[in-house]
Amino acid sequence: MDVRHEAGHDREEIGAEGPDPAGPVIAGRGRRSASFALRRLRPRHPLAWGLLVAVAALVLTPVASLVAIGSRGDPELWPHLAAYVLPDAVATTLMLLAGVAALTTLIGVGTAWLVAVHDFPGRGLVTWLLPLPLAFPTYIVAYVYADTLDTLGPVQGALRGLLGITVPAGSLLPEVRSLGGAVVVMSLVLYPYVYLAMRAMLQARSAALTEAARLLGAGGFRIARAITLPMARPALAAGLALVLMETLNDIGATEYLGVRTLTLAVFTTWLNRGSLAGAAQIACVMLVAVAALIALERHARRGRSVAASSADSRACRRVPLAGRAGALALLACLVPVGLGFAVPFVFLLREVFTRGLLVGFDPDLVRHAGSTVMLAGGATVLTLALGFGVAFAARLIRRRRAGALLGAAGLGYAVPGTVLALGLLGPLVAVDEAIGSVVRALTGHGAGLLLAGSAAAVTIAYTIRFLAIATGFAQAALARLPVDLDDAAASVGARPRRVVAAVHLPLVRPALLGAALLVFVDCLKELPATLLLRPLNTETLATYVYQFATRGSFEEGALAALLIVLVGLVPVIRMVRLSDDLDPDAPLA
């Protein structure tokens, strides 16, 4: 078999997959198709196993330390939590998740459908604009909307002006600081996960079948219902899983909007009820719930293999929408971008100028921006190296047990940042003390906290937290490459290392880039773990903004917030362009 040719062909398939941040979560389809005969002949790959075990151990360490903390809990707390705290927190969390899932599906699938299946004036532009809200941390958008839509905010002020009301007496609009407000705010920021996953799927996957159905005379709606949506279900599941985990992990936005979720219960149990153990216990229960969510998502993705087997990934011709229909489609796509990106962006810009934040520029900001990019960049490199490393390893091994280890490596994404930080600190210090005692034996001086006291702690936390994105992308991309490819390379005498370097790595480049961008943006926005683990005299842009936010005057941090978004925009735009490069319509290089 001509490997080059195969590679060129497969590129198209990756194309459909690469930009798919869906890929991200935990695909984990083992190579069950491998035949027994081959398996027996296959080498044992000690290095690959070693890497898998080491990375899984790295991720599971904070979880294990959390379980250990939880097991020291005082037994009196649970009855109290079960009676007064958990029922409400669970109900609130479920309602929040359900609401965000529904709204992000509506926005994400709707817009993806429009840009993937239809053609209308401005389609090119909105394709590019729709993912932009991803650059915003949810808590910033929450502050912006709570402020803008407040009774004394500009919107209601204008409304009162229109209605001729002079003395404000209560709110004219629904309260933003509520469960409903949280659902809307979080959906506006998180829908791009669904959009990106769905768009990639919709325009590539169903092409051949759709065309066939159209030839057979099926209408657009029928095609959608019978073919496209069922096939896109795995992508929807993947996108939604990301959305839901982000929602579950959020602390800034929900706390500010007064929505008392389980994550907040972890905090209050730790801080107010004075029980770290109780907090760890709730966190462990949440972990179990998330594991169930992941299992569910995997189950939903199973259908994907059918779609993947379709070698023909030509895009179907888009149905043009002209006149009013076209204008409506454009409007439907512009609204989420406007609300999720333009409004908060303009708000921040206005604050920056009216407060003279540029003139009274805080010189420290440059330093903070530098450390932010350094930390995020370092963590991105490490995350990609480990994430793709384990994915390659699992592929070489082709065993179910390797798949399980790979799954474990993705578990960190499910752990709320603060909880992760708490769980990580103990093991880091233990390593530091071990190093310290060796150093002391050799030199007579202690080494201090090499890991826990340095930027290494934050870097490791980011890596554990976002590893799932890298492994997800890697798995999704590798799944597109036929196993025959490896076997062919092996049959001409290539060693596994060379197979990875010469065959896998070049072929998964788009996925690597996609994962890098998403991990980088997520690191930029990360707040809770950074707050707790960063070394002395170090701020990131996110912690800088948060400082003002905790003082109740986050507008003064508007410039830093704007910087987070601007720095985040670069990768997000790059991601869109990447997916455009790989657009099945676009000529492939």
Partner: protein, 346 residues
Amino acid sequence: MPTSPRLRSCVLAAVAAIAAPAAAVAQTGTPAGEVNVYTYREAKLVAPLFEAFTKDTGIKVNTISASSGLEQRIATEGANSPADVLLTVDIGRLKEAVDRGVAQPITSEVLDKVVPAQYRDPNRLWYAVSARARVVYASKARVAQNEITYEELADPKWKGRVCIRSGQNIYNNALFAAVIAHLGEAKAEEWLKGLKANLAQKPSGGDREVARDIAAGKCDIGVGNTYYWALMSEREPDKKAWAEATKVILPTFKGAGTHMNISGVILAKHAPNKANGLKLIEWLVGEQAQKIYADMNFEYPIRPGVTAHPVISGYGELAADPLPIATIAENKKAAATLVDKVGFDN
């Protein structure tokens, strides 16, 4: 070993990713002339204090600020912890630090002389450096009375007219702990139920939002700290209107005074720069620092003789509750439990 260049560059990149931060290792084995402060006070607020301290003493101050988990971090860091001093914004975190065993007794005649007994730990494990009162913001237009008791907040006459932030917030936690200390747990529960029944909306936002919601006509009275009102009125032009729509009433407990909370310090058990840490703590209760607390942060200075900012003293004659802060700390957990029990935040 035959390794492809591509793979090698990947490995190199991974190594660099770990090594770069490790090379940037911040503070291990701090040289003399420094002090490491873990602070719940936002860096921006304490920066002028520390600048003045460094100017005064030549000691460099390294800081890390966070809104939660610092005492946990110190505890986990153990004997190698770089922390010398922990600065908190309320009594709860001080007690937490003491309970976790990360504090060491402070022996200082200066502190014993300056800080009133009510505002320090009987075992000298923590000292207050500034104080604030938790008071009532009331609508100028819709509330005529200029006196109020904390007990009255649960009076049905305020039904649907009260705004407050989360009952689990540290400042409310301390206030409710004081209520328990004064009324006993059973009556405190009744009081909390009454207060909840009076709320105009679910607890949310912060103390500034209380003033904002009063200005917006959503409620008539609310609970907030003394310095927030002053900050809005004096430093935040866009929020001045919220302050102007409200007045500050200094409430009292029946037969006692106005509930006070403190910002305070502990000296870390394994402080590597203990002498400098102690110097900083003593400096914080000195004239200059106390003046900064009063004028820049609008707090009540802890040092007798230093006067509060005119805006703060404009609230009226403060009759501080004589209840020892240590007693409030003891009731903190019971207060959190009570808030859960009556579903205050739901």
